[in-house]
Amino acid sequence: MPRTDGEVARPTTAVPPTRTRRTGRTPVALLLPAALGLLFLVLPLVGLLVRTPWATLPQRLTEPGVLTALRLSVQTATLATLLCLALGVPLAWLLARVQFPGRRVVRALVTVPLVLPPVVGGVALLLVFGRRGLIGSWLDETFGITLPFTTTAVVLAEAFVAMPFLIIAVEGALRGADTRYEEAAATLGAGRWTTFTHVTLPLVAPGIAAGAVLCWARALGEFGATITFAGNYPGRTQTMPIAVYLALETDLEAAIVLSLILLTVSVVILASLRDRWVSAP
C-alpha cells in the first residue's frame, strides 16, 4: 500500500499546477492597453530615428554650434554632479544615520525639487541668487559676483534639480549597508571620520555611483530651471536641451541631430546602470 501512496503523491508534487495557468492566460483587457502603452513610449523614439538625416549626420555633428552646446552640457552636468556629490552625500548620510528632530521634514524638503516644475525652480533660484535676490544682492555688493545668466547659474540650476536623485540613491544605499561594519572598524581603532572614508564610503560606492549617474543624466537634460535662471547664451548658458528647443524653430534637422545625441547618451546610461548597478546584488 505505501507504494501506491507514493505514486499518487508524486505527480501532484512534481507539477506545480498554478505555474502553467499563470503563464498560459493573459487577459486581453490588460494586454491591449499594455501593448499600446509600450508603443506610445517607443514610437516617438522610432520617429526620431526615422527622420534622422543619416547622410549628413557626420557633417551635422561636427558643426561648431552642436559641439559647443554638447561641450557646455557635459561640462555643466559634470560640475553639477560634483557639487551634488560634495553636498548630497553628507546630507544623505545625515538622513540615513543621525536621529534628529524634523528628519522627516528635511527628507520631504530634499525631495521637493523632484516634483516641483523646473521652471518654478528657476524662478525660485532667480529670487535667491538673482542680482536683487536674498543672497545674490549680498554676493553682488560684497564680492561683485553676479550669478544669473552665467555658466555658474547653469550648474546651480542643474544641481538644484538633480540633487534629489543622488540623495535618494545614496540614502537608500546607506540604509541598506550593515552598520556593524562600522562597529567593527571602531573596535580596530578607527575614528568616525576614518570609518566613514575607509569603510562606509567603499561599502556604499555602488549606490553612490548609481546615484551620480542618475544625477548626471538629469542634469544633462535640464531645461526649465536652466533657461529661467541662466537664459540662453550660446557658448555660455545654451545647453543641449535649450539648443534643441531653439533649433526646432529654425532648423528641424539640427534639432533632430541634437535630440539623437541626447537619446544616445540616455540609452548608454541606462545600459550601464542595468549592467553594473541595478541588477548587481
Partner: protein
C-alpha cells in the same frame, strides 16, 4: 596604546586581574548585572541561553553600549565608569573583537582587513601590511592574503577575523559565538586551531557562546548567566559535576532537582522522594545522567532503587541512543538504546516504570 607595546607591559602587577569589571545595564524590564574579572592569559567563557545578556555584556566591554552603572577597568585603565563620568569610546580601547559573522570588510583583501587595525594604531602602510602578513602566516593563510572575504571559506574567514582582532595586540580579546557560523566538520578543525591561538594570547580573552562544547574546550573558566545574572561560575569540571540550574543541567546533560535531604533521603519540592548514595542534611541539589534512568514495562522488583510510574511525553534521537522525556511525579530525561526502545515498544503517551539506582545519583549542598 600602540601596537608595538606588549599587553603584559601595560598589565597591572601580578595577582591583579587584567579585566576588572562590574557590568550593569538597565534596559526597561531587562537588567544585566555581571561582575567579571579575567587574568592575563586567561580564557573565560560567558555561557547562557538566548536573551541572557551575553551580547549586551560583550557590547559594553567593546564600548558599543554604555554601562548604566558599575565599572570597567582594563589593564589598570578606567574605560567606562558612569559614577565617575568616565567613558572611553570604542576606537580608543585596547580591545579586539571577533564578531559572530566576522564582519570582514568586503572591499578589502584578507591582508588589508588584518592590516586595518595596525594602520589605525599608527603604523605606516608598509609596517601594517608586514604585520598582517605575519599574522595570516601564523593562521596558515599565506596563500590567501590577496583574496577578498567572499572568496574565503567559512573556516578561512574565521581565521582572518581572528588575525584581524589579534593584530592590534589587544589587552582584551572578545569573541562573539566565533564558531556558530561554521558547519559541523569545519567547526571541529577551527575549534582546535582557535584553542591554540587563544592559549598563545597574552591578554585576557572573553568568549561569548551558547555552545557548551566551545566553552568546555576553549575556556579556563566558565561564567554562566541567565536573565542577566550569574547563576554559576567555575571550572568546567566543577560545573559539569554539580550544575545549579536547570539550564546548566541541560547544558551538561543531567537531570537536576532541588530538595531537602535527611541522610540518604531527599524530599523534592513536589513531595517526591529520592534515595541517593550521598549523605546530607538540608537543602541540596540531586543530579543524575539520563543514562542512569532505566525503563520497565511494569514495576521492577527489589533492590534499593528509586522507582516510579511515568508517562512518555516525547522521544528524540540523541547520538546513538534515544532520549525519552518522561512526565509523572518528576520530569526526567532517560536515554535508552534503539533496541531497548523497540523491545519496550515505546510510544508517546505510553505509561512505563522508571528506575534509578541510588548509587548513580549525586547530591550536593545547594547553599
Amino acid at each position: 596604546m600602540t601596537v608595538g607595546q606588549t599587553v603584559l607591559g601595560a598589565a597591572p602587577p601580578l595577582g591583579v586581574p587584567l579585566l576588572d569589571a562590574h557590568l550593569v545595564v538597565d534596559r526597561g524590564a531587562f537588567r544585566l548585572d555581571l561582575p567579571l574579572t579575567i587574568d592575563p592569559g586567561e580564557v573565560v567563557a560567558l555561557l547562557g541561553p538566548n536573551g541572557a545578556g551575553k551580547t549586551t555584556a560583550l557590547r559594553t566591554l567593546a564600548g558599543l553600549l554604555p554601562l548604566s552603572a558599575g565599572h570597567l577597568t582594563l589593564a589598570g585603565r578606567d574605560l567606562d565608569h558612569p559614577g565617575r563620568r568616565v567613558w572611553t569610546p570604542t576606537e580608543r580601547r585596547p580591545i579586539g573583537v571577533v564578531f559572530q559573522d566576522y564582519l570582514l570588510f568586503p572591499h578589502l583583501s584578507a591582508l588589508d582587513n588584518v592590516a586595518f587595525g595596525p594602520r589605525r594604531h599608527g603604523m605606516n602602510r608598509h609596517q601594517a601590511r608586514h604585520r598582517a602578513a605575519e599574522w595570516l602566516a601564523r593562521m596558515g593563510l599565506t596563500e590567501h592574503v590577496r583574496r577578498k572575504p567572499r572568496q574565503l571559506s567559512g573556516g578561512q574567514a574565521q581565521r582572518v577575523a581572528l588575525a584581524r582582532a589579534l593584530a592590534v595586540a589587544p589587552a582584551l580579546l572578545l569573541l562573539d559565538e566565533p564558531l556558530a557560523a561554521l558547519d559541523a566538520r569545519t567547526r571541529l578543525d577551527t575549534r582546535a586551531q582557535l584553542q591554540q591561538h587563544l592559549a598563545a594570547h597574552a591578554g585576557a580573552t572573553l568568549l561569548v557562546t551558547h555552545d557548551p562544547l566551545d566553552a568546555l574546550v576553549l575556556a579556563d573558566r566558565l561564567v554562566i548567566i541567565e536573565h542577566g545574572h550569574v547563576v554559576q561560575e567555575g571550572s568546567a569540571a566543577t560545573i559539569t559535576a554539580q550544575p545549579r540550574t536547570d539550564y546548566v543541567a541541560r547544558l551538561v546533560g543531567l537531570n537536576l532537582y532541588r530538595g531537602r535531604a535527611t541522610g540518604h533521603s531527599i524530599l523534592l519540592a513536589d513531595g517526591f522522594r529520592l534515595t541517593t548514595g550521598d549523605q546530607h542534611d538540608g537543602e541540596v541539589f540531586v543530579a543524575f545522567p539520563p543514562s542512569a534512568v532505566a525503563l520497565h514495562p511494569g514495576q521492577p522488583d527489589g533492590s534499593p532503587r528509586n522507582t516510579w510510574p511515568a508517562t512518555i511525553a516525547g522521544i528524540q534521537r540523541h547520538g546513538d541512543n534515544l532520549r525519552i522525556q518522561l512526565t509523572g511525579p518528576i520530569e526526567v530525561a532517560a536515554d535508552v538504546t534503539p533496541a531497548a526502545a523497540a523491545q519496550l515498544r515505546l510510544t508517546p503517551g505510553q505509561p512505563v516504570w522508571a528506575a534509578v539506582k541510588a548509587a548513580e545519583t549525586r547530591a550536593y549542598p545547594a547553599g
